[in-house]
Amino acid sequence: MKKTNSLFRSSLFALLLLFLAWILSSAGVLNLYIQQVLMYVGINIILTLSLNLVNGYMGEFSVGHAGFMAVGAYVASLLTVAVFPRAWGPFIFPMVLVCGGLAAALAALIIAFPSFRTRGDYLAIVTLAFNMIVKSVLENIDAVGGPRGYMGMSKLTNLVWVVFWVLITLLVLRNFIYSNLGRGVVAIREDELAATLVSVNTPRLKIYAFCLSAFFAGVAGGLYAHLLQFINPRSFSILKSTDMLVMVYLGGIGSLTGSILGATLYTVLMELLRPLELWRWVVGPLLLVLLMIFRPTGIMGLRESRWIRPAADKI
């Protein structure tokens, strides 16, 4: 009885949020700049949630998430611009995003094999190398514009779609984390050897989590490409990956609420600091270093809001 009740409330809340997004964006309540910032916030929330699965919940260390985002962005853009007729755009947009996400997940599967043979620092090295390789490959393919970038996408991303995908990401990741598999993921973080001993299939689980994370990074990439209507390999450099790391560690590792908070705070802060011009880029790294020294677990730490934890976990 209680379960159906909370399910009903959550769906109602989601619908309300979607409706609010639709009203706000179509009725001209918000000006375009604020809408734009809100969409960035949404995309960053998706990215942060997805990276948190690997870095926060699984305790592995991926620094190349911008690589997955790039794969998603380029695949989705190619589909809407070169493969399908332009008029179909609005109808196939969700499918296109899913394709971008799947391509990113496939890329994750490919690099998972070399990286999970070793742990810790080496995963950082491999994901970093992946980020560099993706950027380098994109710069060398003339069909997608090489270093000049790729354009011609229609502006298909709007506030409603962003909110929709944020909700989907939150739902899927939350259900994954509190499922049997997800508890295995947390066990890997706490002690991989002990997890293996209690028959958690660690190699397979790591690949699942990694691919799921890459999938949502790819979706975020597709949204980003159709918001900006222009992508180039440089926008998916290691700087982008570092931004994501800042957001994850600002909000709190191993906390979905924290990721939402971290992404929102960081994006809004960076917008507010725009008048500082070049000095703005000094703030992010400095913030990261200070966070690591003084509060390495982030704002939320490992805590989670009551809304997200399942009923069985509430004590």
Partner: protein, 303 residues
Amino acid sequence: MMALALQYLLNALQLGSVYALIALGYTMVYGILTMINFAHGDIFMVGSYLAMWATLFLLGIKLPLPVPLVFLGALLFTMILTAALGVAIERLAYRPLRHAPRVSAVITALGVGLFLENFTLATIGPEPRQMPAIIPVQQLSWAGISFTNIQLLIIIVSIILMLLLDWLVRHTLTGMAMRAISYNRPIVPLMGVPVNRVISMTFAIGSAIAGAGGLLYGLAYPVLDPYMGIRIGWWAFIAAVVGGIGNIRGAVLGGYLLGVVEIFTPVFLASSTYRDFVAFSMLLILLIFKPNGILGRPTFEKV
């Protein structure tokens, strides 16, 4: 044909020397703290800016200093200041995290690197600077190979520095303490080794060598910009991993190997834009078959 190959090899040696110098810093810090100091490439960048100012100053004062003195003065100035920078970074950013999870230290290092880049960008401005020529360039040729005195200087100075470091690590008390810490961290303090001082020393030496690399690189490629440390730093890092991170001779080997990759990729693929792709793919493939690098020894997890 032979002469051409030798010509390329000489270029590879020149570039490889710089990579090897920077890779040494990565590998030394990893050996002692098992931490990847991602800010190291940016210490190299700061080093080349410092070298630029030092030479501008030394050439600017009215005294007619002889060329070797200007070079040595700039080298000394750069090495001392970058050493101080390295020690300061370790003291302020890494030491508070010594007992934190290793991931925190790595992220901090990434943050420090970005901070150095963007701070330089914000204070000096984005436009590239020109490194003044300390030594007039002379074209030399021997047995059909043409080279410059700068190339020769870079290779010789690098090799001297590497031999110095090798001697320092193998034959001095500090070096012995470094090797001891990298061999068994928990036991060493019990033997009365001042761990903090040795770690500071490691950062000082590694950063000073990177600073020297900055000066030498600036002599060969005199255009400096705040983001120059990223690419060179990553390449040097690959060099350290390929050679076996934590192993000093491995870093030198990896450095020269990467120099060869960078110079010979355009020869075989007819385009220099693939060099990042080739280098990072090489790294990935190597990690699959030999996860500890060429000279690294395997580590085992104790339960």
